[in-house]
């Protein structure tokens, strides 16, 4: 038997195999239609119970990815959201109450609603491969599990592990899941079927979380554990910005022994959260992220060997990242010490990400320090990441191009030199593209794909495919000074430096930004980037855009106080952490501080849109969030502008212009609102064929 989204087969031994294969999509999702179809199957099975039911996926990439996020965005209020959640809960309840044993046979992604469905089954058998990933990513979308997952995960693995999984939103491998007790068996592909049949026939005792873990969830200890969890989460995030994790803790703390009641409250909590601005913005960002991914055709270009020139922090970390993504990387630098430092940083990254010594060795075998630079002649991608000097870079490209393979992608990681200047003397200037990574490479997912009017379409496509292939989010930006992210970030950092120059203590400035929702204050961020680098970028951009450079910044650089790396910048550092000193109290209007910082970013964002640096306001928001960590719950500078009100912000800007000077003069883009932010700007300088 088969339907639009599934096939069913009852084998000779009486086991019913239900294979989910959602039509028209590469990934299984629980859309309304799929839930309905599954519910129908479950009803039929309840009427005529087989020996057991195995639910599996027909998709190569995974089991089931959860609810359909697109349907989620269509919800227009608490009541529709409640109905949406209850529909899923109801399916899980029906699966759970089937009279025969049920089993989820898991490979690839099993996340969100997918994991909730697996938990509604009696048993879970998962494929023993690193690609098998289980988790509850709901908090990343501003909600928490709503299809009974909060109840069933706690029941299966105990509150401490389950809450950690749901609060962090992280994915775990099948082996970790086995250790936790989230799955019952973890086997290689050749035993998947056998293990499933065996469990259904022998019906081992259902997994429960064990005494110690049950103890942590006991009525007596629950308030204590909840308080500890709250404190831990609060140290990372602000409940005003991200309410979902706190709502989840409340839900668990308040839930009694009655499961019906727990499910009721779970549904209401998710429905409530889904109406918040945070959830709306996070969901939008999730979809923007999918858009950025979809802009690249990964099949268009599948490089195997990357050659990086320059083993500085950026070059070295780009190299290590590419290795981690499975590529072979040669990294060229005349200085073996720099190559050694690259290997050392890579060692930390590989150890953290790969864990198994065998995989770490494999990674190191792919990372090849290459003093003479032989790798350039066999590489599929060559990335220049040497110091920011136009002549040195031009000389390098002239040399590289004599050795590079035909068809190799030639890229620069420059953050400040225009592509046109670098490509000016090349036989074929359209062959050069910018691949602008952000520091720290392993944390910030964005890569700006910098193109100019002459960049070949084919080169741009390759650059997009490469960036996507190494699991980054590619964003096309036109080659103007600072591109998008640095150009928007810089006025914000300069304003912070100006405040410090005025005598406002750095912690006060940073606090204003953090209250707004930035993950790190601008002063600390400047120290982390390195003040010398910051000043260099500032000088570069100020000649283009007339930014004023605060005196204090120059003084610190002249004094050799370059930030975290030298132990002192705006802050002094002890063991890598800023030492707070100076007055705790300072009489400044926090709203004014916030507006000075944020409005300079918003103003610059409108300038970027007006000039067509990126194609749309959506692309701009995605770029700023994924490239700088800009408060994700606010959805990006343009989203913030919309929600805070165009007229109100313009008014604030104008009054700041009067009180603080011309750097707050509203950009010409303000005159063209809301048109500028409502549609894709037509004026973007697209690449030529």
């Amino acid at each position: 038997m088969s339907g639009k989204h599934w096939q069913r087969e009852r084998d000779a031994s009486g086991i019913e195999w239900v294979t989910l294969d959602v039509a028209g999509r590469g990934t299984n999702v629980l859309s309304g239609e799929v839930i309905e179809a599954l519910a129908g199957i479950v009803d039929e099975l309840a009427a005529d119970p087989p020996l057991g039911v195995v639910i599996r996926s027909g998709k190569p990439n995974g089991f089931l990815a959860g609810a359909d996020v697109n349907e989620f965005t269509g919800l227009d209020g608490r009541d529709t959201a409640l109905a949406f959640v209850r529909r899923g809960q109801d399916l899980m309840d029906r699966i759970e109450s089937l009279p025969c044993p049920t089993l989820a046979l898991i490979h690839g992604f099993c996340v969100g609603g997918g994991l909730e469905l697996a938990l509604a089954c009696d048993y879970r058998v998962a494929l023993d491969e690193t690609g098998t990933r289980l988790g509850f990513p709901e908090v990343r979308l501003g909600i928490h599990p709503g299809y009974g997952g909060s109840l069933r995960s706690v029941r299966t693995i105990g509150a401490p592990a389950a809450m950690d999984l749901m609060l962090s939103g992280r994915n775990i491998t099948s082996r970790t899941a086995l250790k936790m007790g989230l799955i019952d068996v973890c086997v290689p592909k050749r035993y998947l079927r056998k293990a499933a049949e065996d469990m259904i026939r022998t019906r081992p005792r259902l997994h429960d979380s064990g005494f110690m873990k049950r103890l942590a969830g006991s009525a007596a200890l629950r308030p204590v554990v909840a308080a500890v969890l709250r404190r831990k989460v609060r140290s990372r995030i602000d409940p005003g910005h991200y309410p979902a994790p706190f709502a989840l803790i409340d839900l668990w703390e308040g839930a009694g022994a009655n499961t019906r009641c727990w499910l009721e409250q779970e549904a209401e909590s998710v429905a409530e959260l889904s109406t918040t601005a945070t959830a709306r913005n996070l969901v939008r960002l999730f979809l923007l992220q999918e858009d950025l991914k979809a802009a690249a055709d990964r099949d268009a270009f599948k490089p195997r060997h990357v050659h990086v020139v320059g083993a500085g922090i950026m070059g070295g970390d780009i190299a290590a990242w590419c290795v981690l993504q499975g590529l072979r990387v040669t990294i060229q630098d005349g200085n073996p010490e720099a190559l050694g430092a690259t290997v050392k940083r890579a060692s930390a990254l590989f150890g953290r990400r790969l864990k198994s010594p065998r995989l770490v060795t494999e990674a190191f075998d792919r990372l090849i320090p290459d003093v003479p630079g032989h790798g350039a002649s066999s590489a599929d991608v060559i990335i220049e990441a040497i110091f920011e000097d136009l002549d040195a870079k031009k000389a390098l490209f002239a040399d590289i191009l004599t050795r590079a393979r035909e068809g190799a992608l030639i890229a620069t990681n420059t953050s400040s030199i225009p592509l046109e200047a670098l490509a000016a003397d090349l036989d074929d200037p359209g062959r050069l593209v910018g691949l602008h990574f952000f520091n720290p490479v392993a944390k910030l997912p964005l890569v700006e794909i910098v193109h100019g009017p002459t960049t070949h379409r084919d080169t741009l496509d390759k650059a997009l495919a490469f960036a996507r292939g190494i699991d980054k989010l590619p964003l096309k930006v036109s080659s103007s000074p600072g591109f998008l992210v640095n150009r928007i970030l810089l006025p914000y950092l300069l304003e912070a430096a100006a405040m410090v120059s005025e005598g406002i203590p750095a912690p006060v400035v940073d606090r204003a930004a953090k209250v707004f929702g930035m993950p790190m204050g601008p002063v600390e961020l400047a120290d982390t980037v390195g003040l010398d680098i910051g000043l260099h970028v500032a000088e570069n951009l100020s000649s283009a855009y007339g930014f004023e450079i605060p005196q204090r910044l120059r003084e610190l650089v002249d004094a050799g106080k370059l930030g975290r790396k030298t132990g002192e910048g705006f802050y002094r550092y002890r063991k890598g952490r800023p030492v707070l000193h100076g007055p705790k109290r300072y009489d400044a209007d926090p709203d004014e501080l916030r507006d000075r910082l944020v409005l300079r970013m918003v103003n610059e964002s409108l300038a970027c849109l007006r000039e067509g640096v990126v194609e749309s306001a959506d692309a701009l928001d995605a770029g700023v969030v994924f490239g700088t960590g800009f408060a994700p719950f606010l959805g990006g500078p343009i989203r913030y502008l919309r929600e805070a009100g165009i007229d109100r912000l313009r008014g604030r800007l104008e009054s700041l212009e009067q009180s603080r000077g011309a750097r707050f003069a509203p950009d010409a883009g303000w005159d063209n609102l809301p048109g500028l932010i409502d549609r894709a700007t037509g004026g973007a300088t697209g690449p030529q064929d």
Partner: protein, 439 residues
């Protein structure tokens, strides 16, 4: 170029194309920073990068190694896979004790001559500092019995049967450096030769001093470009042979005590090869591969030879292996422009030189009517050798072949002989002809 398949196997030309080695790292107590497979992999990566063909284009990979680690069974295959040669390139490990690296090159050239291979990656590796520490047989027997014992009482009783002497570890390295048949250490074989040819302590120390001086000069002149730096995971890089003692002197060498025949012997740590970790690789190719990829060979292999002799005089191996090659080609010692005789011990290299000069040895042992004469000191080991840069046993044979080809190219010499003595009483030699641009 004539297609090689029309030639008789013995006529097929075999070339040394390009090679590289790791710096040789002296054992400084405890395991060094790199295991054998790691040395082999890192030493080859730069070499492979600069070739016009890919790692998967090799027909086979052959690696010499005396004692791979317990997790490095068939270390050639481990290295081959880790280097990206792919699943389909066969790889095998060869072992002829101290000549394992030379054995790998010989195996490569033989398969090329036979037409079974066209392009081979051959080399040698040894991580002597990682030689295992073993339990004695008594201890192993006790352990296996104790593991089988059931219950705490039996186990405690078992403990009572353990003899403290059994806990004494067996140093694998010392076992390896001792001739199991003759029952003497390698150093003692050198003492025997020194006695037989009347080589004094001072001559040994002078030879050792010169070895350090030459290595130092070679490094300063940029003559060690064959070295590819190693990087460990703590971020340290190793760019040069660290056994070099540029500041050593006759007085310092004279102050050292004999280590093998105490107290009367003459062989000291100073005039013996150092215990060292290292790897060396060389690409060996037939004519077809040379023309297919447009390779520029450094040298052509003219001949290789193995010989065997009394294990107690194993240091004389080079004389026994090289002499037949010279005789068949009617070459004198001075017709060979440059020599490498691996420096296991100063006494042993000096004894080789003496033997060729000695009418009696030449007549009675080598069956020559006249002595062959003298290997000129300024043509022998011109850039130092095992005494100054170390002798990682599996790697040295490949290193001397590689370095000799480099020396011929640099000095525009024509013929070069690389030879090595082998623990257990053997010798190996390879005669090459310079075919580089500088020929």
């Amino acid at each position: 170029m004539t297609p090689s398949r029309e030639l008789a196997p013995s006529d097929r030309a075999v070339y040394l194309i390009d090679g590289a080695r790791s710096p040789f790292l002296k054992m400084r107590g405890g395991p060094g920073p790199f295991k054998a497979a790691e040395l082999a992999v890192q030493a080859a990566r730069a070499l492979l990068l600069r070739q016009p063909f890919g790692p998967e284009d090799f027909d086979e990979v052959i690696l010499g190694c005396v004692a791979p680690g317990p997790d490095e069974a068939n270390i050639a295959r481990v290295a081959s896979l880790r280097l990206g040669c792919g699943d389909r390139v066969p790889a095998w490990t060869v072992q002829r004790n101290c000549a394992s690296g030379l054995q790998a090159i010989d195996a490569a050239q033989r398969n090329i001559r036979l037409g079974r291979s066209g392009l081979v990656l051959a080399g040698g590796v040894e991580a002597m500092s990682h030689a295992p520490i073993l339990f004695s047989d008594d201890m192993v027997r006790w352990l296996s019995e104790w593991r089988r014992s059931r219950g705490p009482v039996e186990r405690i009783r078992g403990l009572g049967r353990l003899r403290p002497a059994w806990l004494a570890p067996v140093i694998g390295l010392l076992k390896g450096l001792r001739d199991p048949v003759a029952g003497i250490s390698m150093g003692q074989t050198a003492e025997i030769l020194a006695y037989r040819f009347g080589i004094e302590r001072e001559a040994m120390d002078a030879f050792a001093l010169e070895s350090h001086r030459r290595l130092d000069a070679a490094g300063k002149a940029g003559h060690l470009a064959e070295i590819s730096p190693l990087f460990d995971r703590e971020g340290n890089n190793y760019a040069s042979d660290d056994g070099l003692r540029a500041d050593t002197s006759m007085d310092r060498l004279a102050a050292l005590k004999p280590v093998f025949d105490k107290p009367y012997g003459n062989v000291t740590a100073g005039n013996s090869a150092q215990v060292t970790d290292g790897a060396a690789w060389i690409i060996v190719a037939g004519e077809e591969a040379v023309s297919r990829y447009g390779l520029k060979p450094m040298a052509r292999i003219l001949d290789t030879r193995w010989a065997a002799l009394d294990p107690a005089e194993m240091g004389m191996g080079p004389v026994h292996a090289a002499t037949p090659i010279l005789r068949e080609r009617e070459l004198g010692l001075r017709d060979v422009d440059y020599w490498e005789i691996n420096e296991a011990f100063a006494a042993q290299v000096l004894a080789c030189r003496s033997a060729w000069k000695d009418p009696r040895y030449c007549r009675e042992v080598l069956g020559l009517e006249e002595p062959l004469g003298e290997v000129p000191a300024d043509r022998l080991n011109v850039d130092g050798g095992g005494i100054s840069l170390g002798h990682p046993v599996g790697a040295s044979g490949a290193r001397i072949v590689l370095h000799l080809a480099e020396v011929l190219k640099r000095e525009r010499g024509r013929l070069g002989m690389a030879s090595i003595c082998i623990g257990g009483g053997q010798g190996g030699a390879l005669l090459m002809e310079n075919v580089s641009d500088g020929a």
